[in-house]
Symmetry: C2
Subunit: 339 residues, 2 copies
């Protein structure tokens, strides 16, 4: 962070900003949502989490264990516009993290993906425009909107070319937020996330990232199955992602635009498996990529997130090794709540 940037960047955990701040988190019992909810509760915010607890998605009531008294939980679906209208009307800030995240599910059931990632998003924006136009919204988008990278690292000017239904619908969801910011002054900031990982991530299956099932394999002392291996990825530790979301909420210079969020360098799938095994024990085997996944795979991906870093002063604080260590440690104690 250079000095001139530092001078205008506010501490993202400034208690004066967060104390009693009325916040809603959609998808708030999910992996990132619940980590954010816990952080905000610690900072003194008035937090409502909204989650459908659809079993295939990431919501898990255990994720807010220990915070039951200071986080208000509302079980409802973001497709339920009546519920959302009632919940959103008095909020100052909405972290809009609810979504269908599985690329394969989006191909097998594209209309459900659209209803959640497209229609429900537009509906929430309409609710806010009509009932709470002074609210600020932070929307979690995804690298998936870029599709197969045409160059690396991928910056925000990269062509938008989603390669699955999920990517198309997330792109529409992102565009809606930016449009409502521009046309109606409904303040919105968009972060395009890459592979976020850490405690409370879904490890039951690969619906959030492949890393989840790898972590589970290590914990259950089964060999990790590496499909391909050469592909490069960047990972964001969940606490760093949450700090980035706090920046997006507070910093007016992040409004009306979409920013990439990356992590602490680049790592191949093979190297990921090696690191995981070095920390957690076990073994891995390497396999050829199955055809069904190959058709929608994007090859290497890593983000250029210099624009976000420049404006916010954000830097990742947790290295990949340290993040994996903390994640394995968490699941060693809590595995039974995630299977």
């Amino acid at each position: 962070m250079n000095d001139s940037a530092a001078s205008v960047v506010r501490n993202p955990e400034d208690p004066a900003f967060w104390r009693e701040r009325r916040v809603m988190i959609t998808g708030g019992l999910g992996f990132i949502g619940s980590t954010l909810a816990r952080r905000l509760a610690e900072l003194g915010a008035d937090v409502v989490v909204v989650d459908s607890l659809v079993p295939e998605y990431g919501g898990n009531i255990f994720n807010i264990q220990g915070f039951e008294g200071c986080i208000r939980v509302n079980i409802s679906d973001i497709r339920d516009q009546h519920s959302l209208r009632a919940l959103a009307c008095d909020r100052e800030l909405i972290f809009n993290l609810a979504g269908q995240t599985s690329h394969l599910d989006s191909m097998h059931d594209p209309l459900t993906d659209l209803s959640i990632n497209g229609t429900a998003q537009l509906s929430l924006l309409e609710i806010c425009r009509q009932n709470n136009p002074s609210v600020k919204i932070v929307f979690a988008s995804t690298r998936q909107i870029y599709g197969r990278p045409q160059y690396l690292p991928v910056d925000e000017q990269h062509p938008l070319n989603p390669v699955d239904v999920n990517g198309i619908n997330k792109l529409a969801g992102e565009f809606y937020h930016l449009l409502y910011n521009k046309v109606y002054g409904l303040r919105a900031a968009v972060l395009r996330l890459t592979n976020t990982y850490g405690p409370r991530m879904r490890i039951k299956d690969a619906r959030q990232t492949f890393l989840g099932v790898w972590i589970r394999a290590v914990l259950e002392q089964r060999p990790i199955e590496v499909w391909g291996g050469e592909q490069l990825r960047d990972f964001t530790y969940v606490d760093d992602a949450v700090t980035a979301l706090l920046h997006a909420a507070m910093n007016v210079r992040l409004e009306g635009q979409a920013f990439n969020l990356g992590g602490d360098g680049t790592v191949s799938l093979l190297k990921t498996a090696e690191t995981l095994v070095a920390i957690g024990g076990g073994s891995f085997s390497v396999h050829e990529f199955p055809a069904e996944r190959k058709r929608i795979d994007i090859g290497d991906y890593y983000a250029d997130d210099r624009a976000f870093r420049e404006v916010s002063g954000w830097r990742p604080k947790v290295s990949f090794e340290e993040g994996l260590r903390r994640t394995l440690e968490y699941y060693r104690h809590n595995l039974n709540h995630y299977l």
Copy 2:
């Protein structure tokens, strides 16, 4: 057209291709859809038109007057998936032209726009994938997906940056078609249309293009109201657009990609008004742009459609003056059917 291109380009009106060809046209009672239906009926195709006849959209049963015996009309909404499934299952070709086209309507009722331009499109593709995977689909997209041009003329590599809900949803609709082509081999071609005009266009209001209300003003001997005036546009005469759609249907080299379709040069709004008045009589007045439209206006736009011309050999045949002359002539005889 250079010689090497000419040698591989088929006559888009080749009767051997079209005779008894089983075709469906969604939005087939609309402006472009009905003009296409009439042409295909003349070429001997087996034509089903599907149209909801929603009063605010372009459908008009009068548009196929004289062709009642050789065009099968099915009144249904593209959001009615049961109807679409039954109608689509035996078709060899679908011209998918149904859509909500009004930019202002898309802002006033964004969820309806999404249900028609997004959800119904994805649903139709799923129907075809499951029930008629050998069908070929030609999808009518729009310049609106580019938003405010960053350079001119706008080619297909121009950033995608829609400035209204309609543009976002049309972009998603386009992406779905290209994705299904790529992942499932469901053949699809996409044309991004600019301002199409001609006989049978909607002149009751500005829901299709501003040119409609101008034509009506000339016919009713009221002054044309020009908002702004300097903005440049390109126009495609409807018969030329229909020929382009026939190319898109026949030419395998147009599959799996989106192509711009432009017209016969560029013209300012002021020059458009002058030309119209020179041909049809009357007068015009120039006004400042209203704020609501300005927020979603895109400034100058004209397409670089060289890629489409190169692959197809298509060229516009009707000049802007001649097209306006034919249009005014049509409405002088049929105005009462369009008010």
